[in-house]
């Protein structure tokens, strides 16, 4: 049996990973909710954030700047992609939307590989994240605790944006009934571009935060993409609370099972997904209606 210290430390790991996954997945979920498409390039955008952060850090040696630039660059790329390509796809079958975002993802990842090489790039953790904290029962790396705080704050910011702003109101209304929103005379195309940008920004931000833990590599987004898919399947696609709850569940499963055997932690996550699909095909907090 693992010791209490190990258990608590893995519990914290799960929470930190979970909030990060929740952040990535909520970007995915608000894009889906408003635009009706699943962004298969989301993992690639996560990697773009990490690389933009890496470049900025090397130039400025400021982690805060890296965080800001990484998020903004990814957000801008999102705006550009939606405006230049993805909006042409809203009238096309859903599989074409999946295909085009999947293709964009490959182009992004391969461009990163061509530009930065295939090897991992190390992004150092910020100076205020160095060290280890003594939490009485166990020692814990300071940065991981800060990840929990930073990602949690970002999620809270996203929550404020969705539930307490005019844009958020439109986004939520769009999830309920996209046609009605259009009929109310809201300039939907502009809102859609903005939403895609915000979703990308969330992925990019998470990419920078995560980079010191796993290092930046062109393929770093693949695993995150699949895991955030699992998160939204568990939580219910299109639901912001679902993404948060699903993210934390997924994070905890990944890290608590790895206490026993890391080899099985991903398998356990997928097994949970299969279970949820059997019992609640619409996910924990998914609503009826959208399929």
């Amino acid at each position: 049996m693992p010791s209490l210290g190990l258990f608590l430390s893995q519990l914290f790991n799960g929470l930190a990973l979970g909030t990060l996954l929740a952040l990535v997945a909520s970007g995915l979920t608000i894009i889906f909710g408003t635009l009706g498409l699943v962004n298969f390039a989301h993992g690639a955008l996560f990697a773009v954030g990490a690389y933009a952060g890496y470049v900025t850090y090397n130039l400025t040696h400021s982690f805060v700047l890296a965080l800001a630039v990484g998020a903004v660059v990814t957000g801008l790329l999102g705006l550009l992609l939606e405006w230049g390509l993805i909006r042409r796809y809203y009238a096309r079958p859903p599989e074409d939307q999946i295909l085009v975002t999947f293709g964009i993802g490959i182009v992004i990842v391969e461009s990163l590989r061509l530009g930065f090489g295939g090897l991992t790039k190390n992004v150092p953790q910020p100076s205020w994240g160095n060290g280890i904290l003594n939490l009485h029962y166990f020692f814990y790396p300071t940065y991981r605790l800060e990840v929990l705080g930073i990602a949690g704050l970002a999620l809270f910011g996203l929550y404020l944006l969705i539930y307490w702003t005019r844009l958020g109101l439109i986004v939520r209304a769009g999830i309920e009934d996209p046609l009605m929103v259009r009929m109310l005379g809201i300039r939907v195309p502009r809102v859609m571009t903005l939403v895609f940008g915000i979703g990308a920004l969330a992925a990019g931000f998470a990419g920078v935060v995560y980079a010191p833990i796993i290092s930046a590599s062109p393929d770093m987004g693949n695993r995150v993409l699949v895991q955030s898919f699992v998160v939204v399947v568990i939580g219910g696609l299109g639901s912001f609370p679902g993404a948060v709850v699903g993210g934390i569940i997924a994070g905890e499963i990944l890290s608590l099972t790895s206490m026993f055997d890391p080899a099985y932690s991903d398998v356990a996550l997928y097994a949970l997904m299969a279970l949820v699909l059997f019992v609640l095909p619409r996910g924990l907090l998914g609503t009826e209606g959208r399929v």
Partner: protein, 613 residues
Amino acid sequence: MSAGKRALLPEAAMLTVLIALPWLAPLLHLPTDVLTRSLIWGLFGLGFDILFGFTGLLSFGQAAFYGTGGFVCGWLLTSHTLSSVPLALVIGTVTAGVYGLIVGYVSLRRVGIYFAMITLAFGEMSFFLENSPLAKWTGGENGLPGVPTPTLHLFGHVVHVKSGWAMYTFIAAIFFVGYLIARRIVASPYGVVLRAIKSNPRRAPAVGHDVQRYKLSAFVLASLYAGLAGGLLGVFQGYMPPDAFFLSTSGQLVLSTVIGGRGTLIGPLIGAFTWIELRNALQQVPHLGAAWKLIFGAIFVLIVTLFRRGIAGEIGAWLERLRRSRAPAPAPQAFEHARAAAHVPHQPEAAQPARRRPGAAVLEVRNLAKRYGGFVALADLTFEVREGELLAIIGPNGAGKSTLLNVLAGDLEASAGQILFRGSDITREGAIEVCHRGISKTYQINQLFADFSVRENVEIGLLAHRRGRFRVDCFRSFGTDRSLRASAEAILGKVGLLPFAEHPTAEMSYGEKRRLEIAIALASEPKLLFMDEPLAGMSPVERAEAVQLIARLAAERTVVLVEHDMDAVFRLADRIIVMQNGVKLAEGAPDEIQRNEEVQQAYLGGVEAHEPA
């Protein structure tokens, strides 16, 4: 050339190319291994194209079955459990199929976007399984080296298939058989149903096809092809690599299929050949070795955006246009003539439609309710439909009429209450079973199979009626079934669409599509027909014809009609039910309803009852 011979042209062309390649390849500086590798991907893609190109299911997890087939076959051979390569290939293929059955069963609980995400996740799960828990058998990150090459016993000769052209011949022969089978499958009634599901996933179950089982069977087919291809990969390379399980393998298959042309069967082969050649060519150029995937990805985005049929699809479409422009074009007036001749066969109208004596109850509806959260669409409805009558249901917009028909036809599930058809409870049976009991429905908004001809639209319905909910008759031929054709034409004759039988559905006018909508519902020979606003959106002339058509249909079967056109309702109906806000307001003969003050107040709103709505 006759149509029958032309149908075999792709097979003949494929065989010729496969035989000619060993002589052509040196001239084109194509290495043998590029061709062999392309064929393995092509075989992998045959199954995927049946799944995605024909059935419309975009899976991102095909690597799971490619890897399973490969590693089972590889393990059987390298562990010396088996010495026969063909037998190991068969067992690997079957194992992949069984795994496909399990994964498909879970993944197909959700459709569309969810399906793509879930298959992707299962693909990753399979990779993790191979990589650690099963590493004892699979070699984990190292894969399985030393997969032996096959030794075949052919007509008393022992042939050792080593590498190069012998290996090419071995794999090309297997690919060709796989291609023949796939061609038969897509041309069979089973294949037509798969295409119908892709074309209109909502109507396919309503005409009686068990969509879920068809999808699952297509998923299993795709995993069988994947498993065989995976096994061949190990045999070809003499080594089973773990990257067979990679996410990028599934992705590469999607890319190849879309670039080569989905729904063409040869698309994946063409797509795979393109990237394998591209990769080989760029590896000769310094610093560009890694760029092949970027270029391939960019081509992919371009093709998805501008040429969504892919290479083979666009060439096919171009050839088709060429063939059409060369063929003696029908005179421009011919179509108009057909249209003019195609009115519903006129029959002298009886001065007064004969009121039939009400028979026994066919359908009994007891305390039926349908709620959406707090919203009550139908509340406690009780009524019956009698044998042979035409029952009209009227009521203002939002009264719940369409919801009622949808619940009765099994498209929606009732929240409470009971529906009895000839005494049996059909409340929770669902659309497919209800259709097979002899109930069908025409939709308020046309639900046609837009990718098919007018005749095929009816035939899709007939296939369910004749073959049942689900049947894998993948070696029968759909195109040459004369009795099917005759039945379809008889139904089209009834609705006056016979002259358009061979026309693409998309070319039909709205009124004609409306009649096709009815023809599809007739394919299952319904004893009870629900019609949801059949006159909606029609011109006055079309309306008059449609009313006659409905009258004739009602003479042969029981009809429940929801309609806003009061003129038509009062002319056609034997009995009328008036609904408002999900409840029954009144019920009775047309003249009783006309006199009913409550109805006039609530529904007709003081307007003369005779005035058309």
